[in-house]
């Protein structure tokens, strides 16, 4: 929402359990280490929970006004419900990263929006780590946007995951790069 220079507002959304929260935190952590202004905001829409989760990350060069993103530049939609809810809010000229493993329909969006269709769950499963789907998504997103590098994200991984999960760092780093690769090559 700042106008000077760069300001990237992302929504990441999916089922609870798809690692939405860690994906968002990784993005924020990476941005912080890169010296950017950044905010991260979890969804806390209801005290009671349904099956969905989302979070909002803003990366900018100037102080950030509001961490609540109403109209994102980019949406990472990990399932259909998320696409339905947030898809229409993407700003013209924005980016949609769409998990075709769980979304079988074509999104009906503004033509100016770039759509990256990627079978996120399948790619993660191929790596032998279905729970790393979130990392595949981040990798793909970063490749498309380019404001932070997948390598920087991989370096931030240890700060996002609790120590007891550190054995998963290598596979998550791999997943990040797999996402990048797919986004770059379309396969």
């Amino acid at each position: 929402m700042t106008t000077n220079g760069f300001c990237e507002e992302v929504i990441i959304a999916g089922f609870g359990g798809q690692g939405i929260i860690s994906a968002g935190k990784l993005l924020a952590q990476t941005a912080m280490k890169a010296g950017r202004q950044v905010t991260y905001m979890p969804s806390y829409g209801a005290e009671v929970r349904g099956g969905t989760a989302n979070c909002m990350v803003v990366v900018a060069n100037e102080p950030i006004a509001n961490p609540v993103v109403t109209r994102p530049n980019s949406l990472i939609a990990m399932n259909k419900a998320s696409l339905n809810k947030f898809g229409p809010r993407i700003k013209p000229g924005g980016l949609l990263v769409m998990n075709t493993s769980l979304i079988d329909t074509e999104p009906d969006l503004d033509k100016t929006i770039e759509v990256l269709a990627i079978p996120i769950d399948d790619l993660a499963a191929e790596l032998g780590s279905p729970r790393s789907a979130n990392m595949v998504a981040i990798g793909a997103y970063l490749q498309k946007k380019g404001h932070l590098t997948p390598d920087a994200a991989a370096q931030a991984l240890p700060e996002v995951f609790a120590k007891r999960h550190h054995q998963t760092l290598p596979v998550n780093a791999k997943a990040l790069h797999r996402g990048t690769e797919f986004a770059a090559n379309g396969s």
Partner: protein, 354 residues
Amino acid sequence: MSQRVLMCGNEALAEAAILAGCDAYFGYPITPQNEITAYMSRRMPEEGRVFIQSESELAAISMVFGAAATGKRAMTSSSSPGVSLMQEGISYLAGAELPAVVVNVMRGGPGLGSIAPSQSDYFQATRGGGHGDYRTIVLGPSTVQELVDYMPLAFDLADQYQMTVLVLADGILGQMMEPILFEKRPGRELPPKDWALTGAKGREQNIVRSLWLAEGKLEEQNRKLQAKYDQIQKNEVLCEEYRLEGAEIVVVAYGIAARIVRSAVSRARQEGMPVGLIRPITLWPFPTEQISRAAEQFRLFLTVEMSSGQMVEDVRLAVAGKAPVLLHGRPGGGVPTVDEILDIIKELSVSVKR
């Protein structure tokens, strides 16, 4: 920690409280500030300090009352409905002149309302929702870093003036993560707590009380409190001014609303509109003088707050008729956007020019 870390507001303020020497935390869970309680439940025992999940907010503020009376630094936190339940206790803290820090991470009301962010407990915080003539110092930070920076100040002010300091945050500030820096800064020099209940050893009995039945005694006590409040009003106002140079319109906003307004002002300036921001940091004592001075100079005031209009009364009191004071209020969990504020500023700029 001398390196930037990414933390949510609730956890950050909790850690800041620990760094500020908070001896005891007492609290009852409520959204959107549960991270404070959870964080404290882990960290306070690590530091050998006291954490209790109380049975209610009544109990929490009473536990604070007890710990504070013995000279300890004690705090609690809650959100709107829970803070309403603390009003009797806060009035007692005022009457007994005990230091305490209370964090209110406001949510939408009235009633159960919602858990969306809000600023609609401003009246309660600044006018005293409890009974009797009393005040609490009220701090209204607008970034996670400020939350961190103002916790030590809150404890110092509480100890210096023997009173409650309320930290007013909101659901967004509590939940959002931002990079922050924990810096150890020197605290204030504070008076000895010779009134504390530590056992009557080598001195006369100490008594902490708020009941004064003898004729005239309670009035005297009240005048003493008012004198203290006057001092604070003179010495402790904090307030940020942004882009007032050459302004004709001044927006007044605090907390999360202020950071949104800041962006709007910055954009409006780029578009050449004569607008600035006054951001009260202490909500009580309110920067009445600053705004009053501004009223001599600028043509129009706009208050932006996430309520139906509460702080606007303080702005009007300060402006005292010298300029129109308009309100843009979003009650019940609504959060203003930069765009909507910009639109209002645009309209006002036109009217000011005419």
